[in-house]
Symmetry: C2
Subunit: 139 residues, 2 copies
DNA sequence: TACAACAGTGCAACAATGTTGCAAAATAAT
DNA sequence: ATTATTTTGCAACATTGTTGCACTGTTGTA
């Protein structure tokens, strides 16, 4: 019998280690995007900082998580949908960053509109990031 | 007689100093977005690294330049259009980052479409960043 | 133009973030 | 169970960004 976490790692041809299981579980638990620093705090001294960097890198390469562009200098990561495979992401949904609480949401049901580019420009990826107030912070 | 550069600084209530004139001139010359590192290279040892940080910060606050979100860890800055004033940016155009040459373009004539957000989410700002191949790099 | 008030700069020291090489440990394959 | 392979932790380092303070340049006023 395999847990969902172990399954996911195996499906992406990754050996199953403590740090990978733990870090993947953080993403599954939180549901929202996490920055390197978040994971470092959550895991305390359990893993080396370097291991976290390398694990996140590996997850991105294997298509388990994707990065979200932000205007401040912090890279955030979020779980990919199932269609993402190694070397090829399909994350065409909108991201929302709350200015109040800092939470980053993947709005899976809001898709990025096609934009018309000037002559000679070829789009490979399109990212749409909205910032404002989320449904928790506004009342 | 005033140069355009001096005028711009004065219009934004900034005292006119060598570093500000020089850094603003870099933006006017290049036409594209610049990262902190670009400016550091262009200016050599002329200014302290700290001065460049503070100048860019000031320019953003005063509405002379705006930041562009990127998925890698580098903040890029580009000149604002004239409608940007202190504390209130109006940069609703699409940004394009070339994967080949790294150049970042402001596509002033491509505007960001309105997106429909889930209940409870209020948008303050919307950034759309496209990456791919620019008209210089493709042939 | 000269002077006072103020704003901006450079330096130093520091904090945070990210990278690399290598030996030890854990995982996978046989 | 043993070997081959992968991953981890450590140490050292590079890069990037921040803060306080003394000094310098800029601005406004006479």
């Amino acid at each position: 019998m395999h847990s969902k976490i172990t399954d996911t790692l195996k499906k992406h041809q990754l050996s199953v280690t403590d740090s990978r299981k733990k870090i993947l579980s953080f993403f599954l638990q939180s549901g929202n995007a996490l920055a390197h620093a978040d994971i470092e705090h959550k895991s305390g001294t359990e893993f080396d900082r370097v291991t976290i960097y390398r694990t996140l890198q590996t997850f991105v390469e294997k298509g388990i998580i994707h990065t979200i562009p932000t205007a401040d200098n912090s890279i955030r990561y979020a779980l990919c949908k199932d269609e993402c495979v190694e070397g090829h992401h399909h994350d065409d949904h909108v991201h929302f960053i709350c200015d109040e609480c800092g939470t980053t949401y993947c709005l899976d049901h809001v898709s990025v509109p096609k934009v018309k580019l000037p002559k000679g420009f070829k789009a490979a990826q399109t990212d749409l990031v909205v910032s404002g107030t989320c449904n928790n912070c506004e009342k």
